[in-house]
């Protein structure tokens, strides 16, 4: 995969296909203005609150808006139109209105921008009823999830790690073979393997793939599951994938107390997909993002953490009695 980023292609295709689709941004891309005109590619001041609110209004009367919010950090200045408006109108009006709105924003990953700019938000946003929260783990899944979002009838936030846009994005671990639209609420298998399962979301999908490679050196064949959307979260699909597939390690960069994956673990145990002592959760620390790399390193799960946890889980359960 080289050349144009698949997300750019997905955006252009949707704009071509849907004349009622608009884009709001503070920083305009000239090529898109040239293709689609300034009425559809709307340049706005730094006013995210008004921007999201206006997108709700446009959407209520039949347009569709893609808001490029740049960073999820800036979406926090626009939570009222997201939480109180965008996600409520279809329900409140008993279906008379709907709000097909998509917000794209960068989360965090290797940029060292500090506590105000670097956020994971998938668990927090997944608490808002009526909102789809897509968390792509690779450039192709970002395009696939965005394509679906741009045709979805309700508000969607697509949380993209800046890692997906690094200059060497084409060489990232790429579990999705194509940029084809991906359904919401359906976890995918990023790697097949029968000895144990690693479950990731967003950045941790690549982390799980790297850990799987390491574990292969220990003779273990790992399955890696990519959750793809935090809301809806594919509890039953994941249970189906992990059942009978050995121990399970759930990996999230968000803190344990907020992590959706910890809750998913409870579900997996309750439905009997995994035994309680064959399940582990590896999470990030409940600490804001520091700028200095030396400080950041101990706060996020690493390949070592995942590998060590997996190895501990796959050890024989009962020590064989020592012959006297």
């Amino acid at each position: 995969m080289t050349g144009r980023h698949p997300v750019g292609t997905a955006v252009r295709e949707a704009l071509t296909e849907q004349p009622d689709l608009h884009m709001f941004c503070t920083y305009q891309q000239d090529d898109l203005v040239g293709l689609f005109g300034a009425d559809r590619m709307v340049r706005l001041p730094i006013a995210e609150n008004a921007m999201v609110g206006m997108a709700v209004g446009m959407a209520l009367v039949g347009r569709r808006v893609l808001v490029s919010i740049a960073r999820v950090a800036f979406l926090f200045t626009a939570l009222d139109p997201l939480v109180n408006q965008a996600t409520k109108w279809r329900y409140m009006s008993d279906g008379q209105f709907s709000v097909p709105l998509v917000i794209r924003g960068l989360t965090r990953g290797d940029e060292h921008l500090g506590a105000q700019h670097e956020h994971h938000a998938h668990s927090m946003l997944s608490q808002i009823p009526g909102l789809v929260v897509a968390v792509p783990g690779s450039p192709n899944s970002a395009a696939g999830l965005l394509s679906t979002a741009l045709r979805h009838p309700d508000p969607v936030v697509v949380l993209e790690s800046p890692r997906l846009y690094t200059p060497d994005w084409a060489r990232l671990p790429e579990p999705e073979p194509t940029a084809a639209p991906l359904p919401f609420g359906v976890a995918g298998r990023a790697l097949a393997g029968g000895d144990l399962t690693l479950v990731g979301i967003g950045n941790t999908v690549a982390l799980c793939l790297r850990a799987a490679r390491r574990l292969a050196d220990h003779g273990l064949r790992c399955q890696v599951v990519d959750l793809r959307t935090a809301a809806p979260l594919d509890r039953d699909g994941t249970a189906g994938l992990v059942a009978g597939n050995g121990p399970v390690v759930l990996v999230d960069e968000e803190p344990r107390t907020a992590s959706l994956l910890a809750d998913l673990g409870l579900h997996l145990v309750q439905v009997g997909a995994v035994e309680p002592d064959r399940l582990a959760v590896v999470c990030g620390a409940p600490v804001p993002a520091p700028v200095s790399p030396a400080l950041l390193a101990p706060l996020l799960p690493t390949v070592d953490d995942v590998t060590a946890t997996a190895l501990a889980l796959t050890r024989p359960r009962y020590a064989t009695p020592r012959p006297d």
């Binding site: 503070t26 920083y27 305009q28 340049r43 706005l44 001041p45 730094i46 006013a47 609150n49 008004a50 950090a73 800036f74 926090f76 200045t77 940029e111 060292h112 921008l113 500090g114 506590a115 105000q116 700019h117 803190p255 344990r256 107390t257 590896v282 999470c283 990030g284 620390a285 409940p286 600490v287 804001p288 520091p290 700028v291 200095s292 790399p293 030396a294 400080l295 950041l296 390193a297 101990p298 706060l299 799960p301």
Partner: protein, 318 residues
């Protein structure tokens, strides 16, 4: 304010920033930098007019504000380079400098968010009744945010001694301000009925005089005031990683402002000879080189400090 002192401070900011840009080019800086080159006269002129115990609230383009507020270079450089001994322990970085000892309250990297924070400080100061004002800096793009108007309305209604310094460099990131705003910052503020002055932001003496008058009014009348300083960035909006952004502004505009450099203007007014300027330059460059050398030798902050100064959820870290 002594012009020679102001000149020296502007030069310290300029050479500090140029050295930071060099480091960024070599990929030695983590995260964003937003250089202040070209706008030095604003920070230096304004902060020479504040009382030393008046709070200063800044934003991500904060290195120059910090230097002008008297923050030691060593702490700034270590913080920007992510080294041990940084002003904020390596947690804040380039965009979030803060120094309580110098009443430098800190810098927010969310555009506009510093305004209500500063108004809160101004309210506390008004209630303390010591006659102190509060200074807050922002770019002209920040006046696109709703919260800036909310803040100014509240500050006017409550009578808060707040000086808002709007550094109008005509751009907000890669977007020209007049493409997204139909009125100048001064017109917007005038519409709110708030006292304001527009000043040549590259003339440190003019900035200083205007800031002095507005600060006196803030303190005496307990009213918000706005200083709009027309200025320009010599380099660019921001850099992250080793590659500088390509020039995005018209060449004629860049050249126009380059010919009105605030440091050159001050040197001309001081009637400095080329030799004197070279000497000043060499002195400041030596100071800055020493600071960078010490920072480079300092090593990384202790990873154990990553979890200090935050309430961690009971039950441990991970």
């Amino acid at each position: 304010m002594q012009l020679s002192t102001a000149y020296r401070t502007m030069l310290r900011i300029r050479l500090l920033e140029e050295k930071i840009i060099d480091c960024a080019d070599r990929n030695e800086i983590v995260g964003f930098i937003h250089p202040y080159t070209g706008q030095e006269a604003v920070a230096v002129g304004v902060l020479a007019a504040r009382w030393p115990d008046e709070w200063v609230v800044s934003f991500y383009r904060c290195h120059g504000h910090a230097v002008a507020a008297g923050v030691p270079l060593d702490g700034i450089v270590r913080e920007v380079l992510g080294r041990a001994g940084g002003l904020c322990g390596g947690k804040g970085g380039s965009m979030h400098l803060a120094d309580r000892d110098r009443y430098f309250l800190g810098a927010s990297s969310i555009v506009g968010s510093q305004l209500p924070v500063a108004a809160g400080v101004a309210m506390a100061e008004r209630n303390a009744d010591a006659g102190r004002a509060t200074v807050v800096f922002c770019g002209d793009g920040a006046l696109g945010t709703g919260v800036s108007f909310e803040t100014l309305t509240i500050a006017a209604t409550l009578g808060l001694p707040l000086l808002l310094v709007c550094e109008d460099n005509g751009w907000q990131d890669h977007t020209r301000s007049d493409l997204v705003r139909h009125r100048t910052p001064a017109e917007l503020v005038a519409g709110l009925g708030i006292g304001h002055r527009t000043v040549d932001g590259n003339d440190v003496e003019a900035v200083h005089r205007a800031a002095g008058e507005l600060l006196a009014r803030c303190r005496r009348d307990r009213r918000p005031q706005v200083l709009v300083a027309a200025t320009y960035l010599r380099h660019y909006h921001a850099q992250v990683g080793g590659a500088r952004p390509a020039e995005y502004r018209p060449a004629a505009e860049v050249a126009h402002w380059a010919a009105r450099d605030p440091i050159d203007l001050a040197a001309a007014r001081l009637d400095l000879s080329t030799d004197q300027r070279n000497q000043e330059h060499a002195d400041v460059a030596r100071e800055i080189d020493e600071v960078f050398a010490a920072a480079a030798a300092a090593g990384a902050p202790d990873p154990a400090t990553a979890t200090t100064n935050v309430t961690v959820t009971p039950g441990g870290l991970r």
